[in-house]
Protein backbone atom coordinates (compact mmCIF):
# COMPACT_ATOMS: atom_id res chain seq x y z
CA UNK A 1 0.00 0.00 0.00
CA UNK A 2 1.22 3.45 -0.81
CA UNK A 3 0.27 6.58 1.08
CA UNK A 4 0.36 10.03 -0.41
CA UNK A 5 -0.20 13.26 1.48
CA UNK A 6 -2.44 15.02 -1.03
CA UNK A 7 -4.73 17.22 1.02
CA UNK A 8 -2.92 19.87 3.08
CA UNK A 9 -4.61 21.34 6.13
CA UNK A 10 -5.79 24.54 4.45
CA UNK A 11 -7.40 22.55 1.67
CA UNK A 12 -9.22 20.19 4.03
CA UNK A 13 -10.35 23.07 6.20
CA UNK A 14 -11.64 24.93 3.16
CA UNK A 15 -13.31 21.79 1.82
CA UNK A 16 -15.29 21.07 4.97
CA UNK A 17 -16.24 24.69 5.55
CA UNK A 18 -17.37 24.84 1.94
CA UNK A 19 -19.36 21.63 2.40
CA UNK A 20 -21.07 23.00 5.50
CA UNK A 21 -21.90 26.26 3.71
CA UNK A 22 -23.23 24.30 0.73
CA UNK A 23 -25.62 22.34 2.92
CA UNK A 24 -26.68 25.48 4.79
CA UNK A 25 -27.30 27.31 1.52
CA UNK A 26 -29.30 24.42 0.10
CA UNK A 27 -31.44 24.16 3.24
CA UNK A 28 -32.08 27.90 3.47
CA UNK A 29 -32.41 28.34 -0.28
CA UNK A 30 -34.99 25.57 -0.55
CA UNK A 31 -36.81 27.09 2.44
CA UNK A 32 -37.16 30.40 0.61
CA UNK A 33 -37.81 28.94 -2.81
CA UNK A 34 -40.55 26.61 -1.58
CA UNK A 35 -41.63 28.86 1.29
CA UNK A 36 -44.71 27.81 3.18
CA UNK A 37 -44.17 24.13 3.99
CA UNK A 38 -44.03 23.25 7.69
CA UNK A 39 -40.85 21.22 7.48
CA UNK A 40 -38.86 24.14 6.06
CA UNK A 41 -36.95 26.86 7.89
CA UNK A 42 -39.08 29.91 8.78
CA UNK A 43 -38.84 32.36 5.91
CA UNK A 44 -37.34 35.25 7.92
CA UNK A 45 -34.67 32.97 9.38
CA UNK A 46 -33.88 31.38 6.04
CA UNK A 47 -33.32 34.80 4.46
CA UNK A 48 -30.70 35.91 6.97
CA UNK A 49 -29.07 32.46 7.06
CA UNK A 50 -28.89 32.32 3.26
CA UNK A 51 -27.41 35.80 2.96
CA UNK A 52 -24.83 35.18 5.69
CA UNK A 53 -23.83 31.78 4.32
CA UNK A 54 -23.60 33.30 0.83
CA UNK A 55 -21.21 35.98 2.04
CA UNK A 56 -19.08 33.37 3.82
CA UNK A 57 -19.12 31.17 0.70
CA UNK A 58 -17.84 34.11 -1.32
CA UNK A 59 -14.98 34.61 1.12
CA UNK A 60 -14.20 30.89 1.13
CA UNK A 61 -14.16 30.82 -2.66
CA UNK A 62 -11.78 33.78 -2.87
CA UNK A 63 -9.49 32.12 -0.29
CA UNK A 64 -9.57 28.90 -2.32
CA UNK A 65 -8.75 30.60 -5.61
CA UNK A 66 -5.87 32.59 -4.10
CA UNK A 67 -4.48 29.68 -2.08
CA UNK A 68 -4.83 27.31 -5.02
CA UNK A 69 -2.99 29.68 -7.32
CA UNK A 70 -0.18 30.23 -4.82
CA UNK A 71 0.28 26.61 -3.75
CA UNK A 72 1.32 23.43 -5.51
CA UNK A 73 -2.28 22.32 -5.50
CA UNK A 74 -2.79 24.29 -8.73
CA UNK A 75 -0.96 21.62 -10.72
CA UNK A 76 -3.84 19.21 -10.18
CA UNK A 77 -6.09 21.58 -12.13
CA UNK A 78 -3.92 21.72 -15.26
CA UNK A 79 -5.72 19.87 -18.01
CA UNK A 80 -3.62 17.42 -20.03
CA UNK A 81 -5.10 18.12 -23.41
CA UNK A 82 -2.87 15.62 -25.22
CA UNK A 83 -4.51 12.63 -23.56
CA UNK A 84 -7.82 14.24 -22.68
CA UNK A 85 -10.15 12.37 -25.04
CA UNK A 86 -8.63 8.98 -24.38
CA UNK A 87 -8.65 9.52 -20.62
CA UNK A 88 -12.26 10.66 -20.69
CA UNK A 89 -13.37 7.60 -22.62
CA UNK A 90 -11.41 5.27 -20.37
CA UNK A 91 -12.77 6.90 -17.20
CA UNK A 92 -16.37 6.93 -18.40
CA UNK A 93 -16.11 3.33 -19.57
CA UNK A 94 -14.75 2.35 -16.16
CA UNK A 95 -17.66 3.94 -14.27
CA UNK A 96 -20.23 2.43 -16.64
CA UNK A 97 -18.76 -1.01 -17.27
CA UNK A 98 -15.35 -1.69 -15.75
CA UNK A 99 -16.40 -1.03 -12.17
CA UNK A 100 -18.95 -3.86 -12.41
CA UNK A 101 -16.27 -6.23 -13.75
CA UNK A 102 -13.94 -5.34 -10.88
CA UNK A 103 -11.41 -4.07 -13.37
CA UNK A 104 -8.53 -2.04 -11.99
CA UNK A 105 -9.08 1.73 -11.89
CA UNK A 106 -7.78 3.24 -15.15
CA UNK A 107 -6.30 6.20 -13.31
CA UNK A 108 -3.61 6.05 -10.66
CA UNK A 109 -3.27 8.82 -8.14
CA UNK A 110 0.20 10.38 -7.95
CA UNK A 111 1.58 13.41 -6.20
CA UNK A 112 1.66 15.15 -9.59
CA UNK A 113 -1.97 14.37 -10.43
CA UNK A 114 -4.58 13.40 -7.89
CA UNK A 115 -7.67 13.88 -10.09
CA UNK A 116 -8.77 11.65 -12.89
CA UNK A 117 -9.88 13.52 -16.02
CA UNK A 118 -13.59 13.43 -15.22
CA UNK A 119 -12.93 14.66 -11.70
CA UNK A 120 -10.60 17.35 -12.97
CA UNK A 121 -13.08 18.69 -15.54
CA UNK A 122 -15.98 18.66 -13.12
CA UNK A 123 -13.97 20.41 -10.37
CA UNK A 124 -12.71 22.97 -12.86
CA UNK A 125 -16.25 23.56 -14.10
CA UNK A 126 -17.61 23.88 -10.58
CA UNK A 127 -14.89 25.99 -8.96
CA UNK A 128 -14.07 28.27 -11.89
CA UNK A 129 -17.36 28.16 -13.80
CA UNK A 130 -20.48 27.57 -11.74
CA UNK A 131 -19.26 28.94 -8.40
CA UNK A 132 -18.35 32.41 -9.72
CA UNK A 133 -21.67 32.57 -11.57
CA UNK A 134 -23.53 31.52 -8.43
CA UNK A 135 -21.67 34.04 -6.30
CA UNK A 136 -22.01 36.89 -8.77
CA UNK A 137 -25.70 36.23 -9.28
CA UNK A 138 -26.18 36.09 -5.50
CA UNK A 139 -24.54 39.48 -5.05
CA UNK A 140 -26.40 40.83 -8.07
CA UNK A 141 -29.61 39.84 -6.28
CA UNK A 142 -28.57 41.83 -3.24
CA UNK A 143 -27.53 44.92 -5.17
CA UNK A 144 -29.85 44.67 -8.15
CA UNK A 145 -30.60 48.39 -7.98
CA UNK A 146 -27.15 49.01 -9.44
CA UNK A 147 -27.85 46.80 -12.45
CA UNK A 148 -29.27 48.13 -15.69
CA UNK A 149 -33.05 47.77 -15.93
CA UNK A 150 -32.79 45.10 -18.58
CA UNK A 151 -30.19 42.52 -19.57
CA UNK A 152 -30.43 41.01 -23.05
CA UNK A 153 -33.86 42.61 -23.36
CA UNK A 154 -35.16 40.88 -20.23
CA UNK A 155 -35.68 42.37 -16.79
CA UNK A 156 -32.34 42.25 -14.94
CA UNK A 157 -33.77 40.79 -11.74
CA UNK A 158 -35.42 37.98 -13.65
CA UNK A 159 -32.18 37.14 -15.48
CA UNK A 160 -30.30 37.17 -12.18
CA UNK A 161 -32.98 35.09 -10.43
CA UNK A 162 -33.07 32.46 -13.15
CA UNK A 163 -29.28 32.28 -13.37
CA UNK A 164 -29.02 31.85 -9.61
CA UNK A 165 -31.64 29.14 -9.43
CA UNK A 166 -30.35 27.18 -12.46
CA UNK A 167 -26.76 27.22 -11.17
CA UNK A 168 -28.03 26.21 -7.73
CA UNK A 169 -29.76 23.18 -9.19
CA UNK A 170 -26.62 22.27 -11.16
CA UNK A 171 -24.47 22.54 -8.03
CA UNK A 172 -26.95 20.44 -6.05
CA UNK A 173 -26.62 17.86 -8.82
CA UNK A 174 -22.84 18.08 -8.58
CA UNK A 175 -23.00 17.56 -4.82
CA UNK A 176 -25.07 14.41 -5.28
CA UNK A 177 -22.70 12.93 -7.84
CA UNK A 178 -19.65 14.03 -5.83
CA UNK A 179 -20.93 12.33 -2.69
CA UNK A 180 -21.54 9.12 -4.60
CA UNK A 181 -18.33 9.11 -6.63
CA UNK A 182 -16.13 9.39 -3.54
CA UNK A 183 -17.41 5.95 -2.55
CA UNK A 184 -15.77 4.44 -5.65
CA UNK A 185 -12.27 4.58 -4.19
CA UNK A 186 -10.31 1.64 -2.90
CA UNK A 187 -12.99 1.12 -0.31
CA UNK A 188 -16.27 2.95 0.19
CA UNK A 189 -14.75 5.26 2.78
CA UNK A 190 -11.13 5.56 1.62
CA UNK A 191 -11.65 8.85 -0.26
CA UNK A 192 -13.70 10.34 2.57
CA UNK A 193 -10.95 9.34 5.01
CA UNK A 194 -8.36 10.96 2.76
CA UNK A 195 -10.19 14.27 2.88
CA UNK A 196 -10.25 14.03 6.70
CA UNK A 197 -6.67 12.86 7.34
CA UNK A 198 -4.99 14.32 4.25
CA UNK A 199 -3.50 10.93 3.31
CA UNK A 200 -4.48 9.05 0.20
CA UNK A 201 -3.93 5.34 0.54
CA UNK A 202 -3.92 2.99 -2.39
CA UNK A 203 -3.15 -0.65 -2.66
CA UNK A 204 -1.62 -2.19 -5.76
CA UNK A 205 -3.05 -5.54 -4.92
CA UNK A 206 -6.48 -6.88 -5.80
CA UNK A 207 -9.18 -5.42 -3.55
CA UNK A 208 -10.25 -8.69 -1.99
CA UNK A 209 -6.79 -9.34 -0.54
CA UNK A 210 -5.39 -7.62 2.48
CA UNK A 211 -1.84 -6.58 3.12
CA UNK A 212 0.03 -5.29 6.10
CA UNK A 213 0.17 -1.50 6.15
CA UNK A 214 3.31 -0.11 4.57
CA UNK A 215 5.19 2.82 6.10
CA UNK A 216 3.81 6.16 4.95
CA UNK A 217 5.65 8.35 2.57
CA UNK A 218 6.41 11.70 4.01
CA UNK A 219 4.69 14.66 2.25
Amino acid sequence: MKSLYLYPVWLRLWHWINALLFLTLIASGVSMHYAGADWLMPFATARVVHNTAGILLTMAWIIFVVANARSENARHYRVRFRTLIGDLIAQTRYYMIGIFRLEPHPFHVTEAMKFNTLQQLSYLGVMYGLMPILILSGWAFLYSVYLPETLFGLGSVWVVAMTHVVVSYLLALFLLVHMYIITTGDTVFSNLRAMITGWHRETDLPRTETTAPAPRETP
Partner: protein, 351 residues
Amino acid sequence: MITSRDRATRQGAQLHTDNPLQAPTGSPGSTKARALHLGRSLALWLCFFALGASVDQSVAAIAEPVGGAVDKELAEAAADRHACLRCHAMSTLGYRDPDDGEIVDLSIDREGLAHSVHGELACIDCHRRSYRRYPHPDRPAPGDLDCIGCHEDENQNLSRGWVDIDAEFKRSVHAVSDSPRVEGFSCHSCHDPHRFRPAAVGEPIVQIVRNHNEVCLSCHEKLIAPSSTSHGWLPNRDAHWTSVRCVDCHTPVAVFANHEVLPAEKSEKNCVSCHSADPQLLARLYQFRSEEDIARRGLLAKAVFNEAYVVGMSKSPALDRLSLAIIGLMVLLLAAHGVGRYLVRRANRRA
Protein backbone atom coordinates in the same frame (compact mmCIF):
# COMPACT_ATOMS: atom_id res chain seq x y z
CA MET B 1 -68.59 67.04 3.88
CA ILE B 2 -65.96 68.25 1.49
CA THR B 3 -63.14 65.85 0.83
CA SER B 4 -59.70 66.76 -0.39
CA ARG B 5 -60.58 64.85 -3.55
CA ASP B 6 -63.61 67.11 -4.07
CA ARG B 7 -61.45 70.10 -3.56
CA ALA B 8 -58.76 68.88 -5.88
CA THR B 9 -61.27 68.01 -8.56
CA ARG B 10 -62.95 71.32 -8.23
CA GLN B 11 -59.65 73.12 -8.48
CA GLY B 12 -58.62 70.92 -11.36
CA ALA B 13 -61.88 71.55 -13.17
CA GLN B 14 -61.48 75.21 -12.67
CA LEU B 15 -57.85 75.54 -13.51
CA HIS B 16 -57.17 72.91 -16.12
CA THR B 17 -58.72 72.21 -19.44
CA ASP B 18 -57.38 70.09 -22.25
CA ASN B 19 -53.79 69.79 -21.24
CA PRO B 20 -53.49 68.60 -17.68
CA LEU B 21 -50.14 70.31 -17.35
CA GLN B 22 -51.21 73.73 -18.54
CA ALA B 23 -53.48 76.27 -16.92
CA PRO B 24 -56.22 77.79 -19.06
CA THR B 25 -56.41 81.45 -19.72
CA GLY B 26 -58.83 83.53 -17.72
CA SER B 27 -61.67 85.54 -19.19
CA PRO B 28 -62.79 89.02 -18.24
CA GLY B 29 -65.71 88.91 -15.87
CA SER B 30 -69.15 90.03 -16.90
CA THR B 31 -71.32 92.27 -14.70
CA LYS B 32 -73.00 89.18 -13.30
CA ALA B 33 -69.66 87.59 -12.59
CA ARG B 34 -68.43 90.71 -10.84
CA ALA B 35 -71.57 90.77 -8.69
CA LEU B 36 -71.04 87.13 -7.80
CA HIS B 37 -67.46 87.81 -7.03
CA LEU B 38 -68.38 90.69 -4.74
CA GLY B 39 -70.85 88.48 -2.89
CA ARG B 40 -68.26 85.74 -2.57
CA SER B 41 -65.68 88.16 -1.22
CA LEU B 42 -68.15 89.46 1.33
CA ALA B 43 -68.87 85.93 2.46
CA LEU B 44 -65.18 85.26 2.79
CA TRP B 45 -64.61 88.35 4.92
CA LEU B 46 -67.53 87.38 7.15
CA CYS B 47 -65.97 83.94 7.59
CA PHE B 48 -62.70 85.55 8.38
CA PHE B 49 -64.03 87.86 11.07
CA ALA B 50 -66.18 85.16 12.57
CA LEU B 51 -63.18 82.89 12.99
CA GLY B 52 -60.62 85.65 13.47
CA ALA B 53 -59.98 84.91 17.11
CA SER B 54 -59.15 81.27 16.61
CA VAL B 55 -57.00 82.08 13.61
CA ASP B 56 -54.98 84.60 15.59
CA GLN B 57 -54.27 81.99 18.19
CA SER B 58 -52.93 79.64 15.61
CA VAL B 59 -50.87 82.23 13.78
CA ALA B 60 -47.88 81.54 15.99
CA ALA B 61 -48.09 77.93 14.99
CA ILE B 62 -48.52 78.82 11.33
CA ALA B 63 -45.44 80.99 11.26
CA GLU B 64 -42.49 78.69 10.84
CA PRO B 65 -39.27 79.28 12.69
CA VAL B 66 -36.96 81.15 10.38
CA GLY B 67 -33.72 81.83 12.23
CA GLY B 68 -31.22 84.48 11.24
CA ALA B 69 -29.13 82.04 9.33
CA VAL B 70 -32.01 80.90 7.19
CA ASP B 71 -31.89 81.96 3.63
CA LYS B 72 -33.67 85.22 2.93
CA GLU B 73 -35.82 83.67 0.25
CA LEU B 74 -37.04 81.03 2.62
CA ALA B 75 -37.94 83.67 5.15
CA GLU B 76 -39.86 85.65 2.55
CA ALA B 77 -41.65 82.52 1.41
CA ALA B 78 -42.58 81.70 4.99
CA ALA B 79 -43.94 85.21 5.47
CA ASP B 80 -45.94 84.87 2.27
CA ARG B 81 -47.41 81.54 3.37
CA HIS B 82 -48.18 82.99 6.74
CA ALA B 83 -50.16 85.81 5.15
CA CYS B 84 -52.17 83.45 2.92
CA LEU B 85 -52.77 80.85 5.60
CA ARG B 86 -54.31 83.46 7.87
CA CYS B 87 -57.44 82.81 5.83
CA HIS B 88 -56.78 79.57 4.02
CA ALA B 89 -55.84 77.56 7.11
CA MET B 90 -59.43 77.90 8.26
CA SER B 91 -61.09 74.58 7.69
CA THR B 92 -64.45 76.23 6.98
CA LEU B 93 -63.20 78.53 4.24
CA GLY B 94 -65.26 77.93 1.14
CA TYR B 95 -68.10 79.11 -1.03
CA ARG B 96 -71.01 77.72 -2.94
CA ASP B 97 -70.45 77.71 -6.67
CA PRO B 98 -73.31 79.72 -8.19
CA ASP B 99 -73.19 77.65 -11.39
CA ASP B 100 -73.76 74.20 -9.97
CA GLY B 101 -74.50 74.87 -6.31
CA GLU B 102 -71.58 72.74 -5.12
CA ILE B 103 -69.47 73.88 -2.21
CA VAL B 104 -65.92 74.71 -3.19
CA ASP B 105 -63.52 74.17 -0.34
CA LEU B 106 -60.76 76.77 -0.23
CA SER B 107 -59.10 75.64 2.98
CA ILE B 108 -55.54 74.39 3.04
CA ASP B 109 -54.35 71.84 5.56
CA ARG B 110 -51.45 73.63 7.22
CA GLU B 111 -49.69 70.47 8.37
CA GLY B 112 -50.16 68.82 5.00
CA LEU B 113 -48.72 71.82 3.20
CA ALA B 114 -45.75 72.04 5.56
CA HIS B 115 -44.86 68.41 4.89
CA SER B 116 -45.58 68.55 1.18
CA VAL B 117 -43.01 68.83 -1.56
CA HIS B 118 -44.08 72.45 -2.02
CA GLY B 119 -43.92 73.20 1.69
CA GLU B 120 -41.10 75.72 1.43
CA LEU B 121 -42.50 77.68 -1.50
CA ALA B 122 -44.29 80.98 -1.28
CA CYS B 123 -47.94 80.64 -2.27
CA ILE B 124 -47.47 83.23 -5.01
CA ASP B 125 -44.73 81.13 -6.57
CA CYS B 126 -47.57 79.10 -8.03
CA HIS B 127 -50.61 81.35 -7.60
CA ARG B 128 -48.95 84.21 -9.34
CA ARG B 129 -50.03 87.67 -10.32
CA SER B 130 -53.73 87.33 -9.67
CA TYR B 131 -53.35 86.35 -6.06
CA ARG B 132 -50.90 88.95 -4.85
CA ARG B 133 -53.71 91.12 -3.57
CA TYR B 134 -57.01 90.64 -1.88
CA PRO B 135 -59.75 90.34 -2.99
CA HIS B 136 -58.61 87.71 -5.48
CA PRO B 137 -60.00 87.51 -8.98
CA ASP B 138 -62.54 84.75 -9.55
CA ARG B 139 -60.40 83.22 -12.25
CA PRO B 140 -56.65 82.90 -12.50
CA ALA B 141 -54.71 85.07 -14.91
CA PRO B 142 -52.95 83.49 -17.90
CA GLY B 143 -49.76 81.78 -16.78
CA ASP B 144 -50.90 81.22 -13.22
CA LEU B 145 -50.55 77.69 -11.92
CA ASP B 146 -48.10 76.69 -14.58
CA CYS B 147 -46.55 73.47 -13.23
CA ILE B 148 -44.13 73.12 -16.11
CA GLY B 149 -42.77 76.60 -15.47
CA CYS B 150 -41.01 75.19 -12.42
CA HIS B 151 -40.73 71.54 -13.34
CA GLU B 152 -39.43 71.77 -16.90
CA ASP B 153 -35.79 71.48 -15.82
CA GLU B 154 -36.54 68.17 -14.17
CA ASN B 155 -36.96 66.51 -17.53
CA GLN B 156 -33.27 65.66 -17.68
CA ASN B 157 -33.35 64.09 -14.23
CA LEU B 158 -36.48 62.06 -14.71
CA SER B 159 -36.44 58.61 -16.20
CA ARG B 160 -39.63 59.62 -17.97
CA GLY B 161 -40.26 63.20 -18.97
CA TRP B 162 -43.43 65.25 -18.66
CA VAL B 163 -44.29 64.47 -22.26
CA ASP B 164 -44.36 60.75 -21.43
CA ILE B 165 -46.40 61.33 -18.29
CA ASP B 166 -48.83 63.51 -20.22
CA ALA B 167 -49.18 60.85 -22.94
CA GLU B 168 -49.73 58.16 -20.30
CA PHE B 169 -52.37 60.26 -18.59
CA LYS B 170 -54.21 60.83 -21.86
CA ARG B 171 -54.47 57.06 -22.37
CA SER B 172 -55.60 56.48 -18.79
CA VAL B 173 -59.13 55.67 -17.70
CA HIS B 174 -59.13 59.01 -15.90
CA ALA B 175 -58.89 60.78 -19.25
CA VAL B 176 -60.82 58.54 -21.66
CA SER B 177 -63.71 57.36 -19.51
CA ASP B 178 -67.21 58.61 -20.30
CA SER B 179 -68.08 58.72 -16.62
CA PRO B 180 -69.10 62.16 -15.38
CA ARG B 181 -66.88 61.54 -12.34
CA VAL B 182 -63.74 62.08 -14.39
CA GLU B 183 -64.85 65.38 -15.87
CA GLY B 184 -62.09 67.93 -15.41
CA PHE B 185 -59.63 65.32 -14.16
CA SER B 186 -56.11 66.73 -14.02
CA CYS B 187 -52.74 66.23 -12.36
CA HIS B 188 -54.13 67.95 -9.29
CA SER B 189 -56.93 65.44 -8.94
CA CYS B 190 -54.42 62.96 -7.55
CA HIS B 191 -51.38 65.08 -6.83
CA ASP B 192 -52.89 67.72 -4.60
CA PRO B 193 -50.07 70.28 -4.72
CA HIS B 194 -50.85 71.35 -1.16
CA ARG B 195 -50.29 67.87 0.19
CA PHE B 196 -48.32 65.92 -2.40
CA ARG B 197 -45.03 64.46 -1.33
CA PRO B 198 -43.23 61.82 -3.41
CA ALA B 199 -42.26 58.64 -1.61
CA ALA B 200 -38.75 58.96 -0.22
CA VAL B 201 -36.47 55.97 -0.40
CA GLY B 202 -35.91 54.79 3.14
CA GLU B 203 -39.48 55.22 4.31
CA PRO B 204 -41.10 51.99 5.48
CA ILE B 205 -42.70 50.28 2.53
CA VAL B 206 -46.02 49.87 4.30
CA GLN B 207 -46.14 53.64 4.80
CA ILE B 208 -45.27 54.32 1.14
CA VAL B 209 -47.93 51.90 -0.04
CA ARG B 210 -50.48 53.47 2.30
CA ASN B 211 -49.68 57.00 1.11
CA HIS B 212 -49.88 55.91 -2.50
CA ASN B 213 -53.14 54.06 -2.10
CA GLU B 214 -54.77 56.81 -0.05
CA VAL B 215 -54.73 58.95 -3.18
CA CYS B 216 -56.74 56.35 -5.10
CA LEU B 217 -59.02 55.54 -2.18
CA SER B 218 -59.92 59.19 -1.61
CA CYS B 219 -62.23 58.73 -4.62
CA HIS B 220 -62.65 54.98 -4.74
CA GLU B 221 -63.64 54.83 -1.10
CA LYS B 222 -66.40 52.29 -1.73
CA LEU B 223 -63.75 49.66 -2.36
CA ILE B 224 -62.73 49.54 1.25
CA ALA B 225 -66.18 49.67 2.76
CA PRO B 226 -66.71 46.74 5.17
CA SER B 227 -69.38 45.28 2.90
CA SER B 228 -67.22 45.61 -0.22
CA THR B 229 -66.59 42.44 -2.17
CA SER B 230 -64.24 44.18 -4.57
CA HIS B 231 -60.96 42.36 -5.27
CA GLY B 232 -62.50 39.29 -3.65
CA TRP B 233 -60.71 37.04 -6.13
CA LEU B 234 -57.36 37.95 -4.57
CA PRO B 235 -56.12 35.40 -2.07
CA ASN B 236 -55.29 37.33 1.07
CA ARG B 237 -56.88 40.52 -0.25
CA ASP B 238 -56.00 42.69 2.73
CA ALA B 239 -52.36 41.62 2.64
CA HIS B 240 -52.20 42.72 -0.99
CA TRP B 241 -53.79 46.05 -0.15
CA THR B 242 -51.25 46.81 2.54
CA SER B 243 -48.21 45.61 0.58
CA VAL B 244 -48.89 46.46 -3.05
CA ARG B 245 -49.65 49.81 -4.59
CA CYS B 246 -52.90 50.06 -6.57
CA VAL B 247 -50.91 51.25 -9.60
CA ASP B 248 -48.76 48.12 -9.58
CA CYS B 249 -51.68 46.14 -10.98
CA HIS B 250 -53.81 48.97 -12.36
CA THR B 251 -51.22 50.21 -14.86
CA PRO B 252 -49.72 48.27 -17.77
CA VAL B 253 -47.38 45.57 -16.55
CA ALA B 254 -45.41 45.19 -19.75
CA VAL B 255 -44.21 48.80 -19.88
CA PHE B 256 -43.54 51.23 -17.10
CA ALA B 257 -46.36 53.76 -17.39
CA ASN B 258 -47.64 54.43 -13.92
CA HIS B 259 -49.87 57.32 -15.03
CA GLU B 260 -51.76 55.14 -17.50
CA VAL B 261 -54.36 53.93 -15.04
CA LEU B 262 -56.29 51.03 -16.57
CA PRO B 263 -59.98 50.24 -16.18
CA ALA B 264 -60.71 47.35 -13.81
CA GLU B 265 -61.34 44.84 -16.60
CA LYS B 266 -57.94 45.51 -18.18
CA SER B 267 -55.96 45.52 -14.95
CA GLU B 268 -53.51 42.80 -14.05
CA LYS B 269 -55.13 39.68 -12.65
CA ASN B 270 -52.41 37.21 -13.43
CA CYS B 271 -50.82 36.11 -10.14
CA VAL B 272 -47.63 34.96 -11.81
CA SER B 273 -46.91 38.48 -13.04
CA CYS B 274 -45.62 39.03 -9.51
CA HIS B 275 -45.36 35.58 -8.03
CA SER B 276 -43.29 34.13 -10.80
CA ALA B 277 -40.87 35.08 -13.45
CA ASP B 278 -42.38 38.04 -15.23
CA PRO B 279 -39.47 40.39 -15.75
CA GLN B 280 -41.29 43.71 -15.70
CA LEU B 281 -43.57 43.95 -12.72
CA LEU B 282 -41.31 41.71 -10.74
CA ALA B 283 -38.29 43.89 -11.31
CA ARG B 284 -40.27 46.98 -10.41
CA LEU B 285 -41.36 45.58 -7.06
CA TYR B 286 -38.01 44.05 -6.26
CA GLN B 287 -35.97 47.13 -7.11
CA PHE B 288 -38.28 49.27 -5.02
CA ARG B 289 -37.68 47.10 -1.98
CA SER B 290 -33.98 46.81 -2.69
CA GLU B 291 -33.46 50.57 -2.85
CA GLU B 292 -35.40 50.91 0.35
CA ASP B 293 -33.21 48.27 2.03
CA ILE B 294 -29.97 49.96 1.04
CA ALA B 295 -31.20 53.37 2.18
CA ARG B 296 -32.37 52.07 5.53
CA ARG B 297 -29.62 49.64 6.38
CA GLY B 298 -26.58 50.67 4.38
CA LEU B 299 -24.71 48.58 1.85
CA LEU B 300 -23.13 46.00 4.13
CA ALA B 301 -26.00 45.36 6.51
CA LYS B 302 -28.30 45.08 3.51
CA ALA B 303 -26.28 42.12 2.30
CA VAL B 304 -27.20 40.18 5.44
CA PHE B 305 -30.60 41.56 6.36
CA ASN B 306 -31.86 41.96 2.83
CA GLU B 307 -35.65 42.23 2.87
CA ALA B 308 -36.15 42.52 -0.83
CA TYR B 309 -37.62 39.17 -1.60
CA VAL B 310 -40.82 38.61 -3.50
CA VAL B 311 -42.14 35.13 -2.81
CA GLY B 312 -41.91 33.06 -5.93
CA MET B 313 -39.66 35.50 -7.71
CA SER B 314 -37.08 32.96 -8.73
CA LYS B 315 -39.77 30.42 -9.39
CA SER B 316 -40.47 29.01 -12.76
CA PRO B 317 -42.75 25.98 -12.36
CA ALA B 318 -41.42 24.34 -15.53
CA LEU B 319 -37.79 24.87 -14.51
CA ASP B 320 -38.47 23.57 -11.00
CA ARG B 321 -40.19 20.46 -12.32
CA LEU B 322 -37.40 19.79 -14.82
CA SER B 323 -34.65 20.32 -12.26
CA LEU B 324 -36.29 18.18 -9.61
CA ALA B 325 -36.91 15.46 -12.21
CA ILE B 326 -33.23 15.49 -13.23
CA ILE B 327 -32.10 15.40 -9.60
CA GLY B 328 -34.57 12.58 -8.85
CA LEU B 329 -33.40 10.63 -11.87
CA MET B 330 -29.79 11.11 -10.83
CA VAL B 331 -30.56 9.77 -7.34
CA LEU B 332 -32.13 6.68 -8.90
CA LEU B 333 -29.21 6.19 -11.28
CA LEU B 334 -26.65 6.52 -8.51
CA ALA B 335 -28.63 4.19 -6.27
CA ALA B 336 -28.85 1.62 -9.07
CA HIS B 337 -25.12 2.00 -9.73
CA GLY B 338 -24.38 1.48 -6.04
CA VAL B 339 -26.61 -1.58 -5.79
CA GLY B 340 -24.93 -2.99 -8.93
CA ARG B 341 -21.48 -2.51 -7.40
CA TYR B 342 -22.58 -4.14 -4.15
CA LEU B 343 -24.05 -7.18 -5.91
CA VAL B 344 -20.93 -7.66 -8.05
CA ARG B 345 -18.66 -7.48 -5.03
CA ARG B 346 -20.83 -9.88 -3.06
CA ALA B 347 -20.89 -12.35 -5.95
CA ASN B 348 -17.12 -12.00 -6.29
CA ARG B 349 -16.59 -12.60 -2.57
CA ARG B 350 -18.73 -15.76 -2.68
CA ALA B 351 -16.86 -17.01 -5.72
